[in-house]
Each structure stands twice: as C-alpha cells, then as structure tokens.
C-alpha cells in the first residue's frame, strides 16, 4: 500500500529526514517510535503533504501512485488521513457542517453518493458512538473550546467518517488520560480492517498496549535505526532511547556530524 524509498525532507533548509525506507502492506499496523527531534512527526507531516516540509530526495508510492505529486487535499480524497498532534480550531464552522463537507468531497471524488444533512446526521451519530462523543459536539465549532482529549477524540471521529485506507496517527496519545487513551485506541482498532493500514507515531509505548503493532520502527536522527516486532516497543520502554546509542555504537542523533 505504501512504499517509502530513501526519503529526505527539510524544513527551512534543515534536513530532518535523512533517507527513510519503509514498506507498509494492507492490514498492517506500524509503529514509528523515537526520541524527541528524531523526525517522526516530520515523517507524518510529509506523508500528509504539509507545505512547510520540502522533500529533497526519495519517493513515496501510495497505492501505485506518486504520493508526493499530490496536493494535501488530493491525498485525503485518495484515502490518506493524518490525525494531528495539535488539532486546529476552526471557529464558526460546526463539526457536523465541516465533516459533511469533507465527507461529500471525498464521495464526489470517488464517484460515490453524497449525503444530505439528515442522512449525514445518521452516519455521524453512528461514528460518534465509536469514540464515545456526545451529540452536543456535533453542533459546536470544530475543536473550539475542546479539551486536549476531546480534540484527539474528534480526530478519530474524523477518521471514522472519512474512512481512510492509510491512517497516520501523529502522537495521538500525547495529552490523553488513561480513559481517553483507551477510547481513542479502541476507536482506531474498530476502524481497522485487512484492507487498511495504520501508522502510529508515538514517543511512548503505552498507546501500543492498546493498538498492537505488527512492526515497530525506531527513528533517530532522521533515520530508521532499529526495526522489530511489538516486543521492541517494550524493550524501548524498559531501556529508554539511550540504549540505542550503545546498541548501534553510534550517537542517536547526527546533529553534530551534520555541521
């Protein structure tokens, strides 16, 4: 489904990703872990098409197409979804209005039927149950005045409505208490099926207790420095990221050598 080859990306002229290779097949759940500044959020944003990040080398093939040639909105309509680490507030536009618009844009693009407000309300009610969100959130402005946990749940609600093929969760666990973490993770699990893939970007192992990854990739200094199964996450939790330094016999960051 997704093939990342030798991906290099910079922001403001600073190279953050220094040659990422990653292959994600249908039905798989991949975890991207790593210390702060390792480039994991950058990878998520590059996949979503954030304009601030410049891809300087490499390629990303999604569903047989060149993902990097698509605009962010095209990627979304093609089934790529990123749950934001810091979801944006959109004052004046209700959650229901916004989601229906986004949903219908995708339907139109895929040649599927658009829904009128009443039909959409039914769909939304059903999806909201998945993340245990109250109906009152649907008439409120998108993320405005939502708590951190509510915003994250709202991201998963958007994911549920848009039904993406590839979901990238960027630090979705940050700022969540244990109950919200469970709700969010269960939502993601219920949405997962053998036709879809999920990339979970996280600093900590705790989310991976709920969303069990098939593969764990550890990013450091803009490169994948270690790969393994779900047990790798537990090992990291126990030993910390410093252990990687020793394991590989080289520093976990290459900031020094870049100069």
């Amino acid at each position: 489904m997704l093939e990342i080859r030798n991906l290099h990306a910079s922001v403001d002229g600073n190279e953050i990703l220094k040659g990422i290779n990653l292959r994600v097949n249908k039905g798989e759940v991949h975890a991207i872990m790593g210390p702060n500044g390792s480039g994991k959020s950058t990878l998520a944003k590059v996949l979503a098409g954030h304009p601030q990040y410049e891809v300087t080398a490499g390629e990303v093939i999604y569903d047989g197409k060149n993902l990097l040639e698509m605009s962010p909105d095209e990627r979304a309509r093609e089934g790529v979804f990123m749950a934001f680490q810091y979801p944006i507030e959109v004052p004046g536009v209700s959650n229901a209005q916004f989601l229906r618009l986004a949903y219908n844009e995708k339907q139109k693009h895929q040649g599927e039927e658009e829904l009128d407000p009443l039909e959409f309300k039914d769909l939304l009610t059903e999806k909201a149950r998945l993340v245990e969100m109250d109906a009152s959130f649907m008439t409120r402005s998108v993320n405005e005045g939502f708590s951190g946990g509510e915003k994250k749940r709202n991201e998963i609600l958007q994911m549920a409505v848009l039904d993406p093929k590839l979901s990238v969760l960027d630090e979705t666990d940050s700022g969540l208490d244990i109950d919200a973490l469970r709700i969010v993770a269960e939502g993601v699990n219920k949405l997962h099926d053998p036709q879809k893939a999920v990339i979970v970007v996280t600093h900590y192992q705790r989310l991976l207790n709920y969303i069990i990854p098939d593969f764990v990739h550890v990013l450091s200094g803009g490169r994948i420095v270690k790969e393994g199964g779900k047990e790798l996450a537990l090992e990291l939790e126990e030993k910390g990221y410093d252990w990687l330094k020793n394991e590989n016999g080289k520093p976990a960051t290459t900031a020094g050598s870049a100069k």
């Binding site: 304009p51 909105d73 959109v90 916004f98 618009l101 844009e105 008439t139 958007q158």
Partner: protein, 447 residues
C-alpha cells in the same frame, strides 16, 4: 454667467431647500424652521468634508460631491406592495416593519391596531404634541452644533424624521426600519432618513435598521439616527447596510445611554461604493453599558469607513467593541475607534478590538484604535490586527480533503461568523450567514 464649481454643485440643494421652506415647513414650529435654515446655511458654508480634515483623511467623498444629487424631501406616491418588500422582511418583525421610501416613513406600511408597545409619529406630528415637542427640540437643537459636518447639516435641513417612543416599563415587539429608494422619481436621489428612538425608563426593545438597494443605480443615503435610553432601558440595535454597489451611504448614529441602561449594537456593512458610519456613544450616567460590534465585508473597489467614539463620562460604565473586516479585491476599509475615559469615570471597563482579514494583496486597511484615559481606576484594553488566513488552519482543512479555495472560504466564513453570531434574531442571522456563504461559494450548508 460664470459660477465657481462650489456654487454650481450646490444649486440642486439650494433650490430644493428653498422649495421645502416654502411648502412643508409652514406647519413646523419656528425653532424647527430656524434650525433648518441654520443647518443649511452651515452646509453652504462648510460644504462636504474633504480629506484635508483629520476625520475624513482616508475617505474621499469627492465622488459624492461631484454628483448632482437631487434631494428628496417630500413623500413618494409610490406604494411598494407587500410582495415587493417580502424579500427584505423578517418573520420576527413582519408585523412591525416600518417602510421608509426615499428616507420618508410610509405610515400605510404598518397595518392594524394591535398593541405593539411603542408609539410612532413623524416629527411634524410630534410638533403638535407638547409632551414630545420639547424632547424633539432638545435633541434636534443639540445636534445642530458647529462640530457637525456637511452631511449632518444637510440631513437636519432636509429630513422629516420619525420619532419612536418605547414607553416606560414596556417590553416592545421587535421593530424593523426598512429603507428603500424609489428610482422612478429621480436618477440620482439624495435621501435623508432620520429617526429618533426614545426608550423610556426600563423599556426594552429591539430595532433592526436595514438599507437595501437591489439595483445598480446611484443614490446617496444620508442618514441620522439618534437613540436615547433612559434609566434602566435596554436596546438591541442591528443595522444591515446592503445598499446598491453604486450607492453612497453616509450615516451617523448617536446614542445616549442612561443610568444602568444597556445598548447593544451590531452593524453589518456589505454594500455601497462608499460607506461611512459615524457611531457616537455617550455614557453620561453611572452604570451604563454598551456593546458596539460590527462586520464589514467588501470587495472590488468598495470603500467602508467606521468612525466610532465611545465616551465614558461617569463611573461604573462598561463598553465592548469588536469590529471585524473581510476585504477582497481592491477594497479599502477604515476603522477609527476612539474610547474616552473622562476624569472621574472610575471603575470603567472598556475593551476594543478591530481585526481585519485581507483576502487579496490589493486590499487595504487603515485601522486606528485610540484609547484616551483620564481616570486611574479603570480596566481598558484595545488592539487591532490585520492579517491573512493562517497556513496551519488551511492545511488542516486541506488534509481533510477540502480543496484550497474552499478551505480559504470556510476559514473566512468562520472569521465573519463571530460577529454575525451576536445577532439574536434568527432569520437575520440566517440571512447574513447565507449572504456571506454565498459570497464565498463555500459549499457549507446553514445549520
């Protein structure tokens, strides 16, 4: 015969004024006739404002000065049918829609004798009732001072106003003042709406003021609104300016807020080639409060100017002001908001904000919030911002499959909505949301 330019352009006003004095004003008391004459003389003396004057620095009204407008001072024979006006009426105010044609109130526009909770009389009618004549005289004469400009002088000279009284302790029905222009009489009419709203002690009312121009014809609306709130009165005042894009709209709204009285206004400026709103709120009694909010949303080569003065003269008064602007094309907006906190006006709370969103590189805003404080125990804040849409917000919407143009429109709508949301009459709110969304082609549905 050779006339200077200045003399030439004043001829339509001068001959119309002479005719007015010969005809209508014979029924008026001497003070009113004198006031008209004095005002007209002052207009002839000072003319219309120019950019050399500080208050008009950014608003050049020479296109108004150059047009030979025909002043309209006598009521129109033309009767608009209910059907003609239906698109401009609101469910909540349907029974209390007061239609003004060419600035002059049409008494037949209001039907039935159901108790509405308010009294209506033209200034000419009020002259005959001693109880209101003195109030009218007090307000009219006060407004005729030398600090007025050429537009207000002209209004005082030509207008036949309407007095609306909300009696003490009455909670009146919502009143809609609908201003339309009849182009069958003149190709370039100058009209002079004038209304004095008097809310007596503890009276409560909602007044909606709308100006509509469906055609592209040229006309000048030169309006003067006065609001007097006595102790404990409460007024919600909404103004929607949707004049023709060829029209000029110059309006002064002067508000006196009484002791513990509350004035809340939302002004929406969408139309006109040039619009200018002067808003002057005086709080000369303790415990008065006001919220003076507004939205201007213009494009192409439109120009809009809001000059507001909020004057805290007594302790324990509160004022809030949020003005937002959305500018597209080569449009130009001016916001000048003065807040005065006079000596002794302790415990004042004054907040003022002006935020502008520029959708085009060629649009321009001149904003100047001013706070002048002469008291020491006050809480005041003001600020202004001019900016473009936020890239992170745009990316967020795009990452959900919304194309960039649509994403921009949705964020713009969200920006404007904060002001529209303040209007408490649902059908007006819906209409404005629709107007904004339609302008933006946002594809959003009204919820």
């Amino acid at each position: 015969m050779h006339l200077s330019l200045a003399e030439e352009k004043q001829i339509p006003y001068a001959s119309a004024f002479a005719e007015l004095m010969r005809n209508r004003s014979s029924k008026e008391p001497a003070w009113s006739r004198i006031l008209r004459q004095k005002s007209f003389a002052q207009f002839e003396n000072v003319g219309l404002p120019t950019v050399a004057q500080e208050d008009w620095k950014y608003t050049n009204v020479s296109p108004i000065d150059r047009t030979n407008f025909e002043p309209i001072w006598v009521g129109s024979e033309h009767r608009f049918s209910a059907g003609d006006l239906a698109p401009f009426s609101y469910d909540e105010t349907r029974r209390n829609t007061l239609v003004f044609v060419d600035g002059i109130f049409q008494p037949h526009s209001i039907h039935g004798s159901e108790s509405r909770g308010f009294l209506l009389m033209s200034f000419s009618e009020a002259f005959a009732q001693s109880s209101y004549e003195s109030a009218l005289r007090r307000h009219c004469e006060r407004n005729a001072g030398n600090h007025e400009n050429g537009f207000t002088h002209l209004n005082t000279a030509f207008a036949d106003g309407l007095l609306i009284v909300i009696p003490a302790n009455v909670n009146a029905a919502s009143i809609h003042l609908l201003f339309v222009v009849n182009h069958e009489r003149s190709s370039a009419p100058a009209v002079f709406p004038r209304v004095l709203i008097l809310a007596e002690e503890n009276a409560t009312a909602t007044v909606v003021e709308t100006y509509v121009g469906s055609r592209r014809e040229k006309y000048l609306t030169n309006a003067f609104m006065e609001v007097v709130l006595e102790r404990g009165a409460n007024l919600q005042h909404y103004k929607l300016q949707r004049e023709s894009v060829e029209a000029f709209h110059i309006a002064t709204t002067r508000i006196d807020v009484g002791e513990s009285a509350t004035y809340e206004a939302t002004t929406i400026n969408l139309g006109a080639a040039i619009s200018r709103s002067n808003i002057e709120v005086t709080m000369d009694y303790p415990g008065a409060s006001c919220a003076v909010d507004g939205l201007y949303m213009i494009g192409s080569s439109q120009h809009t100017d809001t000059h507001s003065v909020i004057d805290h003269r007594q302790p324990h008064c509160t004022s809030h002001q949020l003005y937002k602007g959305v500018l597209d094309g080569k449009s130009h907006a001016v916001f000048n908001g003065k807040v005065f906190v006079r000596h002794g006006a302790q415990q004042t709370n004054a907040q003022q904000t002006n935020k502008n969103l520029l959708l085009s590189d060629e649009a321009r805003v001149d904003t100047k919030p001013q706070l002048e404080i002469f008291a020491d125990d006050v809480k005041c804040a003001h600020g202004a911002a001019v900016g473009q849409l936020n890239e992170e917000e745009l990316f967020y919407l795009e990452s959900r499959g919304i194309n960039p143009a649509l994403a921009r429109n949705i964020l713009t709508y969200g920006f404007a909505e904060e002001v529209i949301e303040k209007i408490k009459i649902d059908s007006i709110k819906r209409e404005l949301n629709a107007v904004v969304l339609n302008r933006l082609h946002s594809g959003l549905e009204i919820s």
